[in-house]
Symmetry: C2
Subunit: 239 residues, 2 copies
Amino acid sequence: MRATHDSAEPPLHCQFCRNRSDSAFHNLGTDELDTISRLKTCVSFRKGQVIMHEGARPQGVYCIHKGKAKLYKMGPEGKEQIIRFATNGDLIGYRSILSDEPISASITALVDTYACYIPKSSFFEVIEGNPKFSLNVLKLSCHELGEAGKMIASLAQKTVRERLAEILLILRATFGEDEEGFLDIKLTREEIANMVGTATESAIRLLSELKEEGRISTQGRRIKLEDRPGLRKIAAVFE
Amino acid sequence: MRATHDSAEPPLHCQFCRNRSDSAFHNLGTDELDTISRLKTCVSFRKGQVIMHEGARPQGVYCIHKGKAKLYKMGPEGKEQIIRFATNGDLIGYRSILSDEPISASITALVDTYACYIPKSSFFEVIEGNPKFSLNVLKLSCHELGEAGKMIASLAQKTVRERLAEILLILRATFGEDEEGFLDIKLTREEIANMVGTATESAIRLLSELKEEGRISTQGRRIKLEDRPGLRKIAAVFE
DNA sequence: CGATTAATTGATACTTCTCAAATCCTGTGG
DNA sequence: CCACAGGATTTGAGAAGTATCAATTAATCG
């Protein structure tokens, strides 16, 4: 079956991947990219499909070529807590493999997603044989550790309203906007609530509040940030 | 000035450090340890002294030889959010250096603390020249990333009571118990609240509740876990 | 286009925070 | 070593913020 959008599928060789410059592979040499290109395989996931399952032992990592996914942990009554999102160029599954622990968060595709799969053994081979790549991944995980710290402080100290504003800004930074200025990601109200860490109804009420204040506008699941400075002010209680 | 407790001060050579086996330096060769030993210097911090300051650019990392410290972010009205603790053998400051970002959390000594300081340049030298060490640090940061994820889910989904029980168990896992069975760490109620992410009064109230239920007992700032299975049951709503 | 799921709103209950006041304890200096 | 000042702990009362439950309307997807 032929893909509808050619650009959705990754090239055979990583060297020609358009995500390379913002990925962990950005400063590798041709020979190193050769190795990875030979080892990787391409996979695709339908919207809603689970890419990795919390508690499992992954056999490799994915580098997202084109798509969007959520990483989340399951709570007591099946309530998801979204930890972060991943999109083009992002590496997922590496945490579990490197720390040799079960997967700490399930990953589900939010839209049809194309990715490159690098088997565990190959990933280690490249990590161990290539200090530069290893350092890239190290930087990446240290950066994410910082983001996680911010999220911890937010959850502990900010109100739901403040966190909601923050999340909206994070969504924009992560996924950008479409031609019409809407956030380029469609989430259900429940998913927004699961990222903010609140009840769906609370998220809805506060979204309505922000709408009334003219800081955002919505059109079904599409959200447009109308007053980013205002949102930033609400969100940036500290930091 | 001569130290009161000789064992508090690290040895001149890392090879003889008693923390080595549980640190990121655990599987390094003699020559590699030589390098680090030559580059490191010993420092000490009094109880309450700030080791690193949020927002600053660290010039090196510390490996704690003997002591206890808290890592925390400052909230709006000066409320601290404790992200994690560090003790013997733990590496601190590495996240900021590796991700090339300002320090994300201040670090303050909870007791008199002795540490080895490794300047940034030396740290990079060892990281870059030694894949094994690099991988150790990578594993470390991936492990901490997993812990941070757990904390995010806890903060978002558990009640204060559940989180308090969880924190008590974490404190025990991190610092252990003294001869009398008390947690081997003395924190103010405020610090406990700052870890749980709640108001000091709430933490106090819930500690009293746990006391009445016979799950813990206290003696000033000393806390003894009397019923760990019970605490685990309260804490482990999910996971 | 119809069935199902999601979003919205209202009412109410519960959790947690804040403020205040009364001990208690800790660390310090004499 | 002891007394004391000042901070820490504790408890109560009331306010605020969120969650839950229920019912209605809107949107989405086959």
